[in-house]
């Protein structure tokens, strides 16, 4: 009997700590964003959110996110297929290389593109001749976004593809199905939740990337400013209400993505069971 009450105390103590910790670290910051954004009323809030610089930053963020997610989805499917469906040397090494972008500091991610495409690069004269500007322009922002979220879809697909094995696909291939049919009819139904899950994670990170994009953006308002960069500029100009108002757009997007993610996780588990 004594043991029961002791472990109950431990239970409520641990739950209490967890709730307090998450409340301070996660809920309060969101609360601050909302209250600061609405500090001067709805009118000012709506004005800051519909400001033309905010809208163009939102558009650039969406553009970079869509392109990055598209690229990394194609890459993720191909790489996961190649790694799990075939045997080859250096496989482990290849997987490690794909993981590299996650461990590299975003600032370094920006720096390396600066070195490849910037003024001191041997590519620079050719790029100028071709009239292509990458550094301090939109293509640089997109490249940085792709880099930072590079392994996300791959990482989600890898364990699923590994666990379903290759028997069904081999059977289909022996019966003469072509690659696309095998993928769309047999593999895809198995991986669809993991794929969507990876896409959601990728989207969340892509829209919020700050460091790498910050290095490569020219910080030109209305041209090469993404939403997070716009937040930075406003905050550094002590325009706190607009800064938090713009942040609230990003918070809303993040919360929606998290809800989608948790619904999908639930559905994926249900289907498995």
């Amino acid at each position: 009997m004594e043991k029961r009450t002791e472990s109950k105390i431990v239970k409520y103590f641990l739950i209490g700590i967890s709730v307090l910790f998450l409340f301070v670290m996660l809920v309060l910051p969101l609360f601050v964003v909302v209250t600061e954004a609405l500090k001067k009323g709805w009118q000012i809030y709506i004005e800051s959110v519909t400001d033309s610089y905010t809208i163009s930053a939102l558009m650039l963020t969406l553009k970079a996110t869509v392109i990055a997610v598209l690229c990394n989805t194609i890459f993720g499917i191909c790489a996961a297929w190649a790694v799990t469906r075939f045997q080859f040397q250096w496989k482990k090494f290849l997987i490690t290389l794909i993981d590299v972008p996650v461990t590299v500091s975003p600032i370094i991610a920006g720096l390396i593109y600066l070195l490849v495409f910037g003024k001191q690069s041997f590519l620079y004269p050719y790029l100028q001749k071709a009239g292509v500007q990458i550094v301090f322009a939109v293509p640089g922002i997109i490249l940085a976004t792709i880099f930072v979220t590079f392994p996300f879809v791959f990482r989600e697909l890898l364990p699923v593809l590994e666990s379903i094995g290759t028997d069904e696909e081999e059977a289909a291939a022996l019966m003469g199905a072509n690659g696309w049919t095998i993928f769309s009819k047999i593999t895809f139904p198995h991986i669809k939740w993991a794929l969507l899950y990876g896409i959601v994670l990728c989207t969340a990170r892509a829209m919020g990337e700050f460091g790498a994009v910050s290095v490569l953006s020219g910080h030109l308002r209305g041209l090469t400013n993404t939403l997070p960069l716009h937040v930075e500029i406003l905050f550094n100009e002590f325009q706190y209400v607009p800064a938090f108002a713009v942040s609230s757009i990003l918070v809303l997007m993040a919360v929606i993505l998290l809800i989608i993610r948790s619904i999908m996780e639930h559905k994926g588990k249900k289907e498995k069971a």
Partner: protein, 278 residues
């Protein structure tokens, strides 16, 4: 069988081609350019740059704050994983979903909101200011932001292992009269140690390179609250690519070592897990 599958399932050429091409363009060539560029530096020049007093203190600040934050996250992550796996209580699913917020919330947003939270007039800051403790614009503030960034790493690493943990050893220990504390230390903790270390290591690596959430709260005073990524950034703004590259190289070596160690540990860990299943 395995050799056969290479021929049976189609698409090796296409998928491998796409993989290698994209990997090269996005990751390998840019990273190689960093190494090529830094190979043009003189060794003594390189050493002079990375041992400058301001750079050394930035290494120190980055290291200490990242270490502190990862240790806090190791403890809290373990508790969170334990609570989420072992207990049933209302709001558990919301709590579980919220854990991913630091992944999904843009770092700049986290940065400005944590800053205004811990500044002297903020909700948390004003409370601690009464005791003369300043959070924002100190190392404490940097650590606070890094704790936020690292929350999901440890919890998400420990959770699956804890879920799979066979209850029979625990039960056996309990039947034989072991107290809960002893069971936790001797039976459960050894199993959780590998994922705990990997999660903490990953969080530490992420914290060392973190920029967005720290830059606002740090105050960025040289020697005091200037982290290494920030020094690189300010050198880039002055177009001093030489210094930026040298310091970046040091950071890269450190984060690759962490990645290597974690991979090694994960390999050993998964071997153990598979061994445990059989």
């Amino acid at each position: 069988m395995k050799k056969n599958s290479k021929r049976v399932i189609p698409g090796f050429g296409l998928t491998m081609g796409v993989t290698i091409t994209m990997l090269s363009i996005i990751v390998l060539i840019p990273l190689a350019s960093l190494i090529i560029y830094s190979s043009e530096l003189q060794l003594n020049e390189f050493i002079e740059i990375i041992t400058a007093k301001r750079v050394l203190s930035s290494f120190y600040v980055s290291f200490v704050t990242a270490l502190g934050a990862s240790l806090i996250n190791a403890v809290m992550g373990l508790i969170l994983a334990w609570v989420l796996v072992r207990y049933e209580f209302p709001g558990k699913r919301i709590m579980d979903g919220m854990l991913e917020l630091p992944f999904a919330l843009p770092t700049a947003v986290a940065g400005i909101s944590l800053t205004s939270l811990t500044a002297d007039h903020g909700l948390i800051g004003s409370f601690f200011a009464k005791f003369g403790i300043k959070i924002a614009y100190t190392k404490l503030g940097i650590t606070f932001a890094l704790v936020f960034v690292g929350i999901p790493f440890v919890a998400r690493a420990v959770q699956p292992v804890l879920e799979k943990l066979d209850g029979s050893y625990e039960e056996a220990a309990r039947v034989m009269g072991a107290k809960s504390g002893l069971i936790f230390r001797r039976v459960i903790l050894p199993e959780l140690l590998p994922p705990l270390l990997t999660g903490t290591g990953l969080a530490f690596g992420r914290c060392l390179g973190e920029y967005g959430s720290v830059v606002f709260i740090a105050g960025n005073r040289p020697y005091e609250t200037e982290i290494t990524p920030l020094i690189i950034m300010s050198q880039l703004q002055e177009f001093d690519y030489k210094s930026a590259t040298s310091i970046a190289l040091v950071m890269l070596v450190v984060s690759f070592s962490i990645l290597f160690l974690m991979n090694l540990m994960q390999a050993r860990n998964s071997k153990r897990l598979r061994g445990g299943d059989v």
